[in-house]
């Protein structure tokens, strides 16, 4: 095989000639054009670029919540572009941890229940689920808030619950779309720190979209996306 940025590490994500366009009012608007690159196992990658450059679109494709027009995406050896809708759903449940800009917790559930949610799709017993959730909440430092509902937590705390929910299934990759976009400086730093720690201590592959240079600094690799093209091929 060919162009791996760091030959000593196996790539966990491989994009091959990925193109994506949207239809808007009868016109086809190309967003990503023939993008190919690899993300190494254990990487902490920041995807940067101006608003509208296609960062979220690219992240959604890698995370399997959107479909490519052409090209292939391999995650952990699986070509996710060939999976059916239902296969893709269960693949996401097992392999991808999501962190969103607006946390996206379920408001009627407690922190504990929110974190437990992805585990309902696994074969874990009730007791095993409880242990996993407790552990995840301990990692993000919210063990004492597990009975609170999202509305009773600050933005930073909600995002930490979201991170606990993202890691509780021990996924192959963590994807984060502007995870600090809605937070104040201090909370943002806590969140970035937490992600950095997860990457360093447990070797999780993290792919983060941001347009905040200070957020990107926490990452090990930065790639720039501009008008659908990667402008820097190597880090």
């Amino acid at each position: 095989m060919t162009d791996v940025s760091d030959a000593t590490v196996t790539p966990i994500v491989r994009l091959r000639s990925v193109s994506k366009s949207y239809r808007r009012g009868g016109q086809i608007v190309p967003v990503l054009e023939e993008i190919s690159f690899d993300i190494a196992q254990g990487e902490f990658l920041a995807l940067m670029g101006p608003s509208g450059s296609g960062k979220s679109t690219l992240l959604n494709l890698i995370a399997g919540i959107d479909k490519v027009d052409s090209g292939a995406i391999l995650v952990g050896g699986v070509d996710i572009t060939s999976l059916s809708e239902t296969e893709l759903a269960s693949w996401r449940g097992l392999n991808v941890g999501f962190i969103f800009q607006f946390y996206n917790l379920i408001p009627v559930l407690t922190a504990f229940e929110n974190v437990e949610l992805p585990l309902l799709l696994t074969s874990l017993s009730r007791r095993e689920r409880r242990e996993h959730v407790a552990m995840a909440l301990r990692i993000v430092g919210l063990a004492d808030r597990m009975d609170h509902r999202p509305g009773q937590l600050s933005g930073g705390q909600q995002q930490r619950v979201a991170i606990a929910r993202a890691v509780v299934t021990d996924p192959t990759i963590l994807v984060a779309d502007e995870p600090t976009g809605d937070l104040d400086r201090r909370s943002a730093e806590e969140i970035l720190h937490l992600m950095e720690r997860l990457n360093r201590e447990s070797g999780k592959t993290v792919i983060m979209v941001t347009h905040d240079p200070r957020a990107a600094e926490q990452a090990r690799t930065i790639r720039h996306l501009e008008k659908g093209f990667l402008t820097d091929v190597a880090a």
Partner: protein, 385 residues
């Protein structure tokens, strides 16, 4: 299960909205139940009619009578076990508002033909032995506070004069569908008076009631009876009791149809209301459903949560509506006992209530569920914030 908790909690997120929707369904189911009960009360006489009884009336019209002499020929016809007769008396008790059906009957045969009118043996004897004796149904006696031994005057509208009767018995119905609102007295008393006052109207009966040895012979006996009196002074028309009752209802069929239509329109309206509530609710939560999908939940989880919420609301409203239907129908029945001798909530009405609730829940859930399932995740997530 956690998803069950989500759907129940979701249902109570807009307390007022959910409450109003549930109340709406309760009222709709109640209205539907009452209207259906009116319809079934309308047909109660038909339901209560027996397959082994025939009614013979004047072929021209019900207002024309038949000679009492026909009785001898009728009782000798093959397949006929018993013959009785009744005259619509049309008497008024004190005022027109107190309407109830009253008949002059041939008492012994009549009570044999109608075992569903249950009389105490002592009261029955007293009635048969008193020319001016009368019996009234339980509900009718209750309505006017009559007791056995009371003297009851009826003002004649068809047969002039004020007629005095002595209440000799109060019958009760053997079935819940038996009409307990009627008043019967001896045809002999009527006829005796007619002989004295208007002799040309004497020796006439309104209708003959024939008891059959075998219900399967109804068509054959009817044909024979009508053939026998063909070309005589009063030709006859014989039909089953059911057909006879239906011919009465046929006159008011349009009203029944209108009530039936209204009852379904009520359900259609509440269906639109619930569908609107569910659509609003699901639209607000489209982002949350996108999150569930992102986390790996499948379309059936999403559809299950939306339909679950929809059914939760409709079934709650329906259960309350059904629970209220019984007491409300009871007090309705008491108010309207002169129009509807029986006003019972039949089992079929409850089945229809439940079916209506299921249809409402299903229809209300379809569009939001379809939206939430088919919307692209990226699109759904965009709706947050």
């Amino acid at each position: 299960m956690l998803l069950l908790k989500v759907l129940v909690k979701n249902a109570f997120r807009h307390r007022l909205r959910t409450l109003l929707t549930v109340v709406g369904i309760t009222i709709a189911i109640l209205a539907f139940g009452l209207l259906r009960t009116v319809v079934s009360a309308w047909y109660a006489g038909v339901e209560a009619s027996s397959a082994s009884r025939l009614v013979t009336r004047n072929a021209i019209s019900l207002i024309f009578s038949l000679p009492v002499s026909y009785r001898e020929k009728l009782i000798r016809m093959p397949g006929v076990k018993q013959v009785s007769s009744a005259n619509w008396f049309g008497g008024v008790y004190i005022t027109e508002k107190n309407f109830f059906p009253n008949f002059a009957i041939e008492p012994k045969t009549y009570l044999e033909l109608y075992p569903e009118f249950v009389l105490d043996p002592g009261e029955k004897e007293a009635f048969l032995h008193d020319r001016k004796g009368a019996v009234a149904g339980r509900k009718l006696a209750q309505r006017f506070g009559w007791k056995v031994g009371d003297s009851i005057p009826l003002k004649g509208t068809i047969f002039p004069g004020t007629w005095q009767f002595v209440l000799r018995g109060i019958y009760r119905g053997a079935e819940s569908s038996t009409d307990e609102n009627q008043f019967f007295f001896q045809w002999e008393y009527l006829n005796e008076t007619m002989l004295k006052t208007v002799p040309r109207r004497a020796n006439q009966v309104g209708i003959y009631l024939l008891g059959l040895t075998n219900p399967n012979m109804a068509a054959e006996v009817s044909r024979n009876v009508d053939a026998t009196f063909k070309n005589s002074q009063a030709e006859t028309l014989t039909e089953t009791e059911k057909a006879f009752q239906l011919s009465f209802i046929a006159m008011t069929e349009a009203i029944v149809v209108a009530i039936q239509i209204v009852s379904f329109v009520v359900i259609l309206i509440i269906m639109a209301v619930v569908a609107n509530t569910m659509a609003m609710t699901a639209r607000e939560r489209i982002g949350e459903y996108a999150v569930f999908k992102t986390l790996g939940f499948s379309w059936w989880h999403i559809a299950g949560m939306i339909f679950g919420e929809s059914f939760f609301i409709t079934i709650t409203g329906c259960a309350l509506g059904i629970a209220l239907t019984f007491p409300v129908a009871k007090s309705f029945g008491q108010q309207l006992s002169s129009f509807f001798p029986t006003f019972n909530v039949v089992r079929e009405t409850i089945y229809l209530d439940s079916a209506a609730a299921l249809v409402i829940g299903l229809v209300a859930g379809i569009f939001p569920a379809w939206r939430a399932v088919t919307i692209r995740i990226a699109e759904g997530l965009r709706r947050i914030g």
